[in-house]
Amino acid sequence: MAAAFVHSHAAHCESGVMSSLLRHHGLPMSEAMAFGLASAVAFAYLPCIRINGLPLVAYRMPPRAIVRGLDRKLGLGMRFERFRSPAAGMARLDALLDAGELVGLQTSVFWLPYFPPDLRFHFNAHNLLVYGRENDDYLISDPVAEAPVRCARRDLQKARFAKGMLAPKGLLYYATRAPAEPDWAGLGRSALARTVRIMLHAPLPLIGVRGIRLLARSVERLPLERGDSTRLYIGNIVRMQEEIGTGGGGFRFLYASFLQELAAKTGYGALDALAVRLVGIGDRWREFALAAARMIRGRDPLAPPVLAERLRALAADEKRFFQDLHGAQRAWA
């Protein structure tokens, strides 16, 4: 390896992986910049995909969108490899590490022993970096961990070849070209346009601002007489928004940080005011989480329509926000 690898602690696994990987290849880039340039902020409510009986709610683009988005924009020549046999997948990882490569992996969270037990669920699209190995241990930089960790070969293999939804199939990836100094304004403008398109004009009503409204409607209809399942349903929304590593407020704070940084890098000041507004929206998402948690704990009476009203207000706020972001994007000369 040309230079020693430096670990950094991030909010979200995929943006953290790409931030560290780019820095390692000579292009310092913050997590927020990696997240925003890949147009990773979004909203999706997918009632047909159920995990433990609960619908999928996501505040971001699907897994690998950040890796692929930055690969395209920065010309990293990322290689992606999947494996049918675990033995072949582990052998290939060893060969790349021995050649000094920094390797990204997609894994399950459940089978990683260094994760806190109460956070180990069957989520198969976790990302981490492997920067070396010692005997039977892999040296891992997991962006959501404070410090580098170690993982035994057997456990890592199980995590890489977990089955089920979004099965990683041993996916590994690495960059084959050093990134060139990017044209920040050009990349920023196109990234903003893409995010606006997803949030306001997605072809499906499940995605973007309309997805928030659809979620509001289904929250409103949650039955009071089946309190336990209603509580699990709204608890699931809050977990997807806060618990799983979003930087708070369902990635809204992280995206606001990107807007600030893009403003500073390009001198386009209009984005600063938009960042402030988005922080306000993130705060209201946090208030929604708090209101939901109080109902779950029984501090407030369980009232799904109250939560639905908050979601509708958030949808309206986000609609205005992304419309104004669109305006700022078009006015950017």
Partner: protein, 131 residues
């Protein structure tokens, strides 16, 4: 969220680890800020964890009473449900459901037991026990 308002509420779920949120510092810039947790998210996570624990305990009680197979208990202990266990083993869902019954479980072949044990990350011996 301002930096000084970032909750530091020591979530038990985080087991002493910290995670990063983005908060506004005094100079108005957003910065990554470590947090030991927030009670609101802890409540929701506990709810999910305890739901799975309760299902496992229910299944255990039924297995002891002879109305369910140990497989159901191990499935919930591994935080799975029949759909996920079917995907993890590559079996049809109806077959997994059938094996949740004590009679069908008792007649399982050695190779199917092996498959379940592998998917659940336990030994074949442990699969038949209610640990």
């Amino acid at each position: 969220m301002r930096e000084r308002d970032v909750p530091q509420e020591a979530n038990a779920s985080l087991a002493g680890q910290r995670k990063v949120v983005y908060a506004v510092a005094d100079d108005g810039r957003l910065r990554p800020t470590p947090t030991s947790g927030w009670a609101a998210e802890e409540v929701c996570n506990r709810l999910a964890v305890e739901d799975l624990q309760r299902r496992a305990e229910d299944a255990r009680a039924r297995a002891l009473a002879g109305t369910a197979s140990p497989l159901e208990y191990h499935m919930y202990r591994a935080r799975m449900d029949p759909a996920l266990l079917a995907q993890a083993t590559g079996l049809w869902r109806w077959r997994v459901r059938r094996h949740l019954r004590p009679g069908a479980f008792a007649r399982l072949s050695a190779s199917l037991r092996e498959r379940y044990a592998e998917a659940l990350g336990i030994s074949v011996e442990a699969l038949a026990r209610l640990g």
